[in-house]
Symmetry: C2
Subunit: 302 residues, 2 copies
């Protein structure tokens, strides 16, 4: 019964599709860009202190124009017979060699002049990797991929009241460090409010040798990561299967950029983790129990 409807030319849907000419107007290229985060231990000077941790992001050194020699997010073109998500997983796998890890779409960037070569629209995806599950560690062999420590700092805040609203601007300095290399740039986050209408714009103020508009993608991703850490369990994607509560707390602190009280923290995450029989040793202080992630009764989040 369906599909027998005909259009103004008297064609059925089948006939229409058979004769359909997609036309030759100019189309944008579509790419995916991957924000692959992990957490890494940093050794301490004092034998008693725990190793500190840092949030890290994977970057690739560009070997071609444009932005040659600068650092960029891993990514690539979406081919014509591959879904957006497949493209993202393909890129992810080609960088990390792991398959089944957490990944989510963040945002699609569509400014006309994003790429000087041609019109490119790019979807950014965030992936979280537990460092201990990475066998081939990027940066070991080639010198064109490396994990960068991420620092995120609000350097200025302006607030201009307007009639019926305000304009608030926040400047955020993002610094990425890998050994001797230090990339640092500034993103402006501007919120314009008129009555209930809020509009948020992001702009690069200082690009700091980070390719294209990737600094904006990084800022967006960190913001999203911070948000999601507070109301989902994605953080456990950054943890090894066994961890101490202090380690978990440190990861929260690094992502949120603020210190937490241990007592309150323990109570808050108490029902997300399960104690195991194992514990740490040789730490120069009281050993701590190792925990693992415990699923809560089903939720169904996005």
């Amino acid at each position: 019964m369906p599909k027998s409807i005909t259009d103004r030319q008297g064609l059925t849907e089948g006939q229409f599709l058979e004769s359909y000419d997609p036309g030759s107007y100019e189309r944008p290229s579509v790419t995916v860009d991957m924000l692959i985060f992990t957490v890494m231990n940093r050794e301490q000077d004092n034998y008693r202190k725990l190793p500190d941790k840092s949030l890290q992001l994977l970057l690739i050194k560009r070997g071609e124009h444009p932005c040659l020699g600068q650092w960029a997010l891993p990514g690539g073109f979406v081919s014509i017979n591959e879904s957006l998500e497949d493209a993202a997983r393909r890129e992810l796998f080609s960088e990390t060699n792991i398959d089944n890890i957490y990944m989510e779409q963040l945002f699609t960037w569509g400014a006309v002049e994003r790429d000087p070569r041609m019109r490119v629209i790019s979807s950014s995806y965030m992936a979280l990797v537990d460092r201990s599950s990475l066998r081939v560690q990027a940066g070991d062999d080639a010198d064109d991929a490396a994990w960068f420590d991420v620092a995120y700092e609000v350097v200025e805040e302006k607030h201009i009241p307007l009639e019926q609203g305000y304009e608030a601007e926040r400047l955020i300095r993002i610094t990425l460090r890998h050994g001797e290399i230090s990339l640092s740039g500034v993103v402006s986050l501007k919120e314009t409010v008129q009555g209930p209408v809020r509009k948020l714009t992001r702009e690069i103020i200082e690009r700091g040798e980070i390719a294209f508009d990737h600094l904006i993608m990084i800022q967006y991703a960190i913001e999203r990561l911070r948000g999601k850490v507070e109301y989902t369990d994605i953080i456990f994607n950054l943890m090894p299967s066994l961890f101490t509560l202090s380690e978990l707390q440190r990861v929260y602190e690094i992502i949120l950029g603020k210190e937490l009280l241990a007592a309150a923290f323990r109570r808050k995450i108490a029902d997300k983790v399960a104690e195991t029989d194992e514990s740490t040793r040789d730490a120069g202080h009281r050993p701590s129990k190792l925990y693992r992630y415990k699923l809560l009764p089903h939720q169904l989040h996005s």
Copy 2:
């Protein structure tokens, strides 16, 4: 000093860009699809009762193959010299004739077979409109655009425990009504959990005369709207400039799909609204003060 670096062919960035050939490989088309929501009063039988409200979504009746005769989200192609957001605002304006309204990007849909004509990647945007500010009301003149009442109902929930996780499926029936027309379809939301790795997939189970994969976009948008209503002030984009607290409460209830207690509600939103001198009259019961949206000291949300 910058830009003087040369690549393997000895070209500077300027030279490279000048001679750059974008190639002729097949590119997907890119479109935007708009989810334009508003809230509408529905008259009551009883003179004493307040008018009830409904959440409405704007749909367009397709006059061409494919999906001829079915209803679809308004949208269109992104042209080569127009940003994604500009394309969305253009589509929004062409449907509503309003310019400065709330709009946000939701998600970009990139399955290969979304559109039977050719490969199309589509970004969905959500816009919220206060009904009273709509002058030209879609559906008045043409019969190809109409506001549909939205009903959202969870019809089934499955939960299958697996080793190290579970699979949870939720079937959601979405019914869209406009006068005699009733479109109803079912979307499956499946969450697969293995340890901390969560993967969410959406699938159309029953398409119900709604074009393409637009039913999924609608489900996603409602979910996002529900989420955002709880932790932002976007709901005021759906309200006229003056409103009673009961009206505001009804809009919350429609969006969240559950009833709220008036006492608690009033306290909760107390600092987001400001009393005015005006009040309702002739209502068949005690008049109520009219309120307006009051900005809180600046926040800077996304």
